[in-house]
């Protein structure tokens, strides 16, 4: 017998009774009680003689330790035509040292129950381990070996190149992932952040061992690095570990990446469509250059962004998801880096509604300047930021990541406990000022999707659109189009 017949719709519909009582006899939510304050373990620091900065956040409780060896240089130093070189340098750390093969490293760390990861992002490279604290010495010894003595074996370079090329083939078929690459180019142009941090098909093939060794020798120095430990560890122990495992790291002349490489042309907004005929959805983004991480406007920018596109109640999700059902989720981000930054808003939607979503993203960005974020809305957006911050810092990994970000951008360590009061001190006027100063002029538009489904409608709101066929897209070039 088919069990489905047990609950055929007809029967159930008539059986449905809407309950009429109020839960607990009350019609509105009961009020909250008094809030508690949150304080995080204040990170402490020492410096080794070779210049290595060591930061320890003592958090006893669970027998766990998270560690990160951070290098304050990342994908922004990729040489011309070699996009992905810094990322590959970072990834290769765990793929073999002078003493251990890639397999031996994996077996060693995983036998401890831990995991090791390495790589590069914008402005930083890192190697991280998470392990039970009684295994700290063994794990830190592996971390030290991969950072101090990587082998950069040709065989491993070839293997990583093949894997990277295959993953790029998959990325190129995803409208959302591809849109992020295109957006970086549209916002940052020829500047140091305009290329693909993970590399392109052409650049990955062009990278040679010497390029990687040169990046390693130049930037992986104790002066340019920081060891961060959080969890079941004391400052005294942390210092001992640092000396034991990183004390022999030889100081080199301090590396400097030189002045930032600015965009060669003055930025102006443009509307770019990448036509991907088999796209199952369109990815729509509006974006423009924004502030650096050390800008005094940074915290006002975070609150502005939270109002626009963080969470279900943000303006974007209210208009795009809740009111119109146009997307599973819209979001915005303030992506502030050492020498530049971007502000973007994006959503994925069915191809036919791409132009409607593009117009909504643009009008919501504009509305930040005309309808102030104030009163309850401001309060709620501050809570989104402070609550999310506190949840991220609940884990040792999260705390290490937050400290790593402060170190990357040269911010003081007491920011860990100042974030919440600083966000809470932002006023409606601060947000309005941020919007007026940084978001008033039109953004660029990037859509990756099936162009024939939306192009005609799009041209009504955006008359000037550059359409790039997927097959002609070239992320290596500032104009994004393959040379004819």
């Amino acid at each position: 017998m088919n069990p489905r017949t047990l609950f055929s719709f007809g029967v159930l519909f008539f059986a449905t009774i809407q309950y009429v009582f109020a839960i607990g006899g009350i019609d509105t939510p009961p009020p909250p009680s008094a809030p508690s304050d949150i304080t995080f373990a204040q990170p402490k620091e020492v410096r080794l003689e070779n210049g290595l900065r060591v930061i320890v956040a003592e958090r006893p409780g669970l027998p766990l330790l998270a560690a990160e060896l951070l290098v304050r240089t990342g994908a922004e130093i990729d040489p011309d035509g070699l996009a992905g070189a810094a990322s590959m340098t970072g990834s290769l750390l765990t793929e073999g040292t002078e003493k251990m093969s890639a397999t031996q490293i994996a077996v060693a760390i995983e036998s401890l129950g831990g995991a090791i990861n390495s790589g590069a992002r914008w402005d930083a490279s890192s190697a991280t381990v998470v392990v039970m604290s009684d295994k700290a010495e063994a794990a830190l010894s592996i971390l030290s070996d991969v950072v101090l003595h990587p082998a950069f074996k040709q065989e491993e370079i070839d293997r990583l190149k093949k894997q990277t090329l295959d993953s790029l083939r998959v990325v190129m078929q995803q409208p959302g992932a591809l849109a992020r690459y295109v957006t970086d180019r549209v916002v940052f142009g020829s500047s140091e952040y305009g290329h693909a941090a993970g590399g392109t098909t052409e650049s990955v093939q062009a990278i040679q061992r010497d390029d990687l060794v040169k990046i390693y020798k130049t930037y992986y120095t104790p002066e340019n690095a920081t060891l961060i430990l959080a969890g079941d560890v004391t400052l005294e122990q942390g210092k001992k570990y640092a000396q034991q495992f990183f004390g022999d790291w030889k100081a080199e002349p301090s590396a400097s990446k030189g002045p930032p490489r600015p965009n060669t042309a003055e930025w102006k907004p443009e509307n770019v469509v990448v036509d991907m005929p088999e796209a199952g959805q369109a990815s729509v983004t509006v974006a423009k250059p924004a502030i650096k991480r050390d800008s005094p406007d940074y915290y006002a920018g975070l609150v502005t962004n939270a109002a626009l596109g963080t969470g279900f109640v943000s303006r974007l999700n209210h208009e795009i998801r809740i009111k119109r059902g146009l997307s599973y989720g819209a979001r915005s981000a303030l992506d502030s880096r050492r020498d530049g930054g971007s502000f973007f808003a994006s959503a994925q939607t069915k191809n036919e509604s791409a132009s409607e979503v593009a117009a909504l993203l643009q009008s919501e960005l504009k509305r930040l300047g005309t309808e102030p974020v104030q009163g309850e809305e401001l309060k709620s957006r501050q809570a989104v930021l402070t609550g999310g911050y506190a949840r991220n810092l609940e884990t040792n990994r999260g705390l290490v990541a937050q400290i790593a970000s402060l170190v990357t951008y040269g911010r003081p360590l007491d920011t860990v406990n100042k974030f919440i009061p600083t966000i809470n001190a932002i006023t409606a006027a601060d947000v309005s000022a941020f919007a007026a100063k940084h978001l008033a002029t039109p953004p660029s538009l990037v859509i990756v999707g099936k162009a024939p489904d939306f192009l005609e409608a799009l041209k009504k709101d955006f008359p000037t659109v550059r359409v790039i066929p997927h097959a002609d897209l070239d992320l290596n070039r500032v104009d994004l189009t393959k040379a004819k």
Binding site: F9, I23, P29, G61, Q281, S380
Partner: protein
Amino acid sequence: MKFLFAAALFCFSFSPALFSAEDPAPSRVVSVPPLPFKHVTLPNGLQVYTVEDHKSPTVAVQVWYHVGSKDDPEGRSGFAHMFEHMMFKGNERLTSEMFDNLTENIGGQNNAYTADDVTVYHEVVPSNYLNPILWAEAERMSGLTLNDQNFASERDVVKEEYRQRILANPYGEFYLDIDRQSFAAHPYKRPGIGSIEELEASKLPEVRAFHATFYRPDNATLIVVGDFKQEELDGWIKKYFGAIPKPAGKIPRVTVKEPPRKQDELKTSYSAKAPLPAIALTYLLPSVRSKDAPALSLAEEILAGGASSRLYQALVYEQQIAQAVSCSADLRADLGLLVFRMVLASGKPVAEAKKSLADQIENVIKKGVTEAELDKAKSRFLTSKLLERETSSGKASALGEAAVMYGDAARVNTDLAKVQAVTTSQIKDVLNRYITGKKKVVIEYLPESMKSPAKETSEKKS
């Protein structure tokens, strides 16, 4: 009057959890602190599990409903999941955005997920908001007020979720194929995310009926972990959840039995989006409540957990035949699936990849695993459990899984010792039990260019 219960009727039956040595600790003791939970059953049937923990001023609240995608009505795959979205639309008192006001807007978070067997609503809030969030969860358990407008717009959101997860993902259809092709009769074969057509076909009265059928206190489990005072919490639970009447009538359950497989099967499909071929190989497994579960989860870890695992080392690292490989012992309430999955490296023949995977499986079945491999798997497993317990929400999830999926909340503490006690011969035994002589289903998901040999040749030339 009906929500005023006499104290005597409101019978809290505390059953203190057992942590002590059921199994003697094996060779190496790794200390995962036990979760000291309390359990009560309300007169209306609601199961309540709580853990008081003042590590941070937040509290995690989860409501697990014992209904999932396997309960999707006929011709309505994706319904349980779409219903989950409708639970955020509220009722006359709990207005549409109020749930977010009580979570996101005060620095908390809320979300939900629908699995094959359960639908879980979860929140983390600053602890001073525990009282209102309990009220809100009880409100939506008591009933929803929906209209054509909020139903239609939320259904559109779910359709976009389908497009984002399945259509915009080069391997989205492949993931759906695995269940679709692996089960012959059990509703696990139907995609939990549904299809555009069946989502379109659903109607508002069906949503109301689904709530009345499944969203009742005797079909739910409430978990609260974090910063609260037990007495105060018990009072709120009694006041809000205790007020919900227990409906008459039985809750319908899936009774379909998956038949044993009679033959090996090969299912091949083609995709215009997939740049590289993907292959899955599946065998049927027992229920999540099987005594083989601990050995199966360690076998999965040995085969494909981490870069030192067998399949990663052989197929990705040494032979470079796969771009990615995974193995999961996907255990569900009624039965499970052992799934091997790989995305091939470019230029590698599908037949060769299948042969390499088969060789690896044959090798482990015949020769078993080493003590070192088993120790490594146990360490990784225990570390992951410890990491899960860094947060209140992680603890709540672990407790919910034990209470609802395993049917025994105490297993949140006792399973760790069970895993520690697994031997190499048990690993070999379980793999043999579910693979040797059993029928397999192979799912191939290939780039469209592989459809016609002529086209493939011409592409190679260009």
